[in-house]
């Protein structure tokens, strides 16, 4: 039986197991919206297309499935760009469907026409303009396959309106055939053996884990490997929840706002094992001084990540689960040598323990003013272990990474690579839609929150009980911190002086608003928020000029940390 293009698209989504999509209707996707009601696919209407993409991103990061977003042509499509770039930088599997003007009008500057395939070429893993309805099912099949395999990423399908209306026989291809796309899954056996030898010869080894460990669902394998070898483990912002942060071997985050002990350990290490991490400049600081004494083993599914920023002594291209398991198996065959390595690196572990006790992650507590770090600690105390935390971007994001102490994978959603303010609230929409029963908390700053605050409406409409914690310092805090430290305290355009009543704002949308202005109110407000059904916004009036520390100034080596204000 023949189906229309929009029906074929929806059939394909169904075949791919898509249960929820996020989007915003418009003229060039009106046919998809007309037909979607006939399919068992929930649609969540966000209030902005950027938010729809972030929501699909949040859905993907928490579930590990491919997130799906729909937007119309022209402004709808261009509004998705920041969301797509965010997902691209953090390797999130996603399919974005944009409407396009009818094929005869393409290139004529038609109403709401934009070359979104051209615009998103450098921020998608791949993208398509569908030119013939006969290609549609194959393209959708390929898009999902490309999005979730290899190094995951967003794939955009631009679908002209006349193709949505045209009809053809629907046949979903069983197999994907892409002669140029063959990701390497199994790590080279010889390289893995070499890695094992390097580990056995090391005296000061450190494991450095990135977001790839989450993407590959390799947390358990990583934990097994780390416990077997007793290696200390530091993580990037993206890798944070891939390794339990209260584990005795955890060193927390490294880099610009990393812990003293992680940065010292990396700087003094003789072997660095990078696992699904890409040596971002926020991690390495001054490249020439990064891990200067260490040999580097780099395990990644994406060959382009290897040797891009730093020299690598041993590259292993492959899927992390596979490589880590093979590495563990190879080491377990050499148990005596492994025991000897563990014994001979005891001094190293003691050195790290000294750094940990001499410079723990800490802040100056206060009885009179709310310290933002205290709010994070209280949130940690009062939420469940599998609560999903999203953040926006800025000081609150770093405090969350430093003090939340994540213990389960896929519970920390944050824009790492692109640093997108306004990410957290819509990402929380996606996470809560995926897991209606779990606690989902968006930790935000007052600046970031105002980038996508309209999504309060989405929360209320769909009864998504997301709790929002705004650490309000009436500043664009991170920029203010830089202005304080490096620009003689000239606070140019960073004070957010207009006193917004966030409680009233929440109420205006039909959500609950709560406020804490004193330290003793923090716990009460969190408890009340968690006990209140539906979305709740908590505003914490925090210490205005608190800084994120330690901090490595831009361009400095990571052991050159500013430790105190």
């Amino acid at each position: 039986m023949k189906k229309t293009g929009s029906q074929i698209l929806l059939e394909c989504l169904q075949q791919e197991g898509v249960d929820t999509v996020f989007g915003y209707p418009g003229g060039t996707v009106i046919n998809i919206y007309h037909d979607i009601a006939d399919y068992p696919i929930d649609h969540i209407l966000t209030r902005h297309e950027q938010a729809a993409v972030h929501a699909a991103d949040g859905y993907a990061r928490t579930t590990g499935k491919v997130g799906v977003a729909i937007a119309t042509s022209g402004p709808g499509a261009t509004n998705t760009v920041t969301g797509i770039a965010t997902a691209y930088m953090d390797s999130v599997p996603m399919v974005i469907i944009t409407g396009q003007v009818p094929t005869p009008l393409i290139g004529n500057d038609a109403f709401q026409e934009v070359d979104i395939v051209g615009i998103t070429r450098s921020i998608t893993k791949h993208n398509y303009l569908v030119q013939d309805i006969k290609d549609l099912a194959r393209i959708v099949k390929q898009a999902f396959y490309i999005a979730r395999t290899g190094r995951p990423g967003p794939v955009l399908i631009d679908l002209p309106k006349d193709i949505q209306v045209a009809s053809a026989k629907f046949e979903y291809p069983e197999k994907v055939e892409l002669r140029g796309y063959k990701p390497t899954y199994s790590g080279n056996v010889r390289q893995i053996e070499k890695a094992a030898s390097m580990i056995l010869a090391a005296r000061k080894p450190v494991v450095y884990v990135g977001g790839g460990a989450t993407g590959a669902d390799a947390s358990e394998d990583l934990l097994a490997f780390a416990e077997m070898t007793q290696l200390p483990v530091t993580t990037t912002l993206m890798g944070m929840a891939a390794f339990p942060q209260r584990h005795p071997q955890a060193l927390g985050m490294l880099g610009m706002h990393g812990t003293y002990y992680a940065n010292m350990a990396v700087t003094n290490s003789d072997l660095l094992i990078a696992v699904g991490a890409r040596f971002d400049d926020r991690v390495t600081g001054k490249i020439a001084s990064f891990a200067p004494h260490a040999k580097i083993i780099h395990i990644d599914i994406d060959p382009t990540s290897i040797k891009k920023n730093v020299r690598v002594d041993l590259p292993i291209v492959g899927e992390l689960k596979d490589v880590l398991n093979n590495l563990s198996a190879t080491l377990s065959k050499q148990s005596e040598k492994l025991a000897a390595m563990i014994e001979s690196s005891a001094g190293w572990r003691a050195e790290i323990a000294d750094w940990k006790s001499s410079h723990p992650m800490a802040y100056q507590p206060s009885d009179t003013v709310i310290k933002p770090q205290y709010v994070i600690e209280q949130l940690r105390e009062l939420t469940s272990d599998d609560a999903i935390i999203t953040t926006e971007v800025g000081q609150h994001q770093m405090w969350t990474a430093q003090f939340f102490s994540f213990s389960q994978p896929r519970t920390f959603l944050s824009s790492g690579g692109l640093g997108t303010m306004g990410y957290g609230l819509p990402a929380a929409v996606g996470a809560q839609a995926a897991f209606p029963e779990r606690q989902v908390i968006d930790i935000s700053g007052d600046g970031s929150f105002q980038m996508n605050s309209q999504e309060l409406a989405t929360l209320v409409q769909y009864k998504l009980p997301v709790k929002i914690a705004i650490l309000n310092n009436n500043y664009l805090g991170m920029v203010r911190q830089w202005q304080e430290m490096f620009f003689d305290r000239r606070y140019s355009e960073t004070p957010m002086e207009l006193p917004i009543d966030f409680v009233k704002l929440a109420e205006a949308y039909g959500a609950t608003g709560l406020r804490a202005t004193k330290p003793e109110e923090v716990g009460e407000v969190i408890q009340k928020a968690l006990a209140t059904p539906g979305p709740v916004l908590m505003e914490f009036k925090v210490d205005r000029e608190e800084n994120v520390l330690p901090m490595v100034p831009a361009g400095a080596a990571i052991n050159e940390m500013v430790l105190a204000s």
């Binding site: 070429r121 893993k125 303009l129 002669r179 796309y181 060959p303 382009t304």
Partner: protein, 158 residues
Amino acid sequence: MKHTISVLVENEFGVLTRVAGLFSGRGFNIESLSVAPTLDPSVSRMTIVTRGDDRILEQVNKQLNKLIDTIKVTDFTGQDYVEREMALVKVTAEEDTRAEVLRIADIFRARVVDVTPRSYTLEITGAPTKLDAVIDLLKPMGIKELVRSGPVVMGRGQ
């Protein structure tokens, strides 16, 4: 260092911009680029000449390989290969220089493909260095217009 890279890609809409965009987006310079379908009409071959140190070239190769439409990447640097480029040169040919232009054309086995009372248009084929040499010799006569195709290469034997 100069590298000549041959890339087999799917002969599909937008592939050329994808490859060119990869270079510009990552700050790699393309010195020349030629592209046309192969014997298999679903596959195109691009010949790209670029410059960079080993680290940059490793990234160029990896990034090209990463494109979904890329089927095969071959860096011919250090390999035995045949290289040809074509140029069309419209050179001023006045009374006193006409004979000299023809003499140069003859020496380099260039063909005259168009003649006017005041110019010759020459077709020259060969290695890019040969083209450079001819163009240098013709410059004093006055080159009105010059088009170069960029090199195409093919590995020897097999």
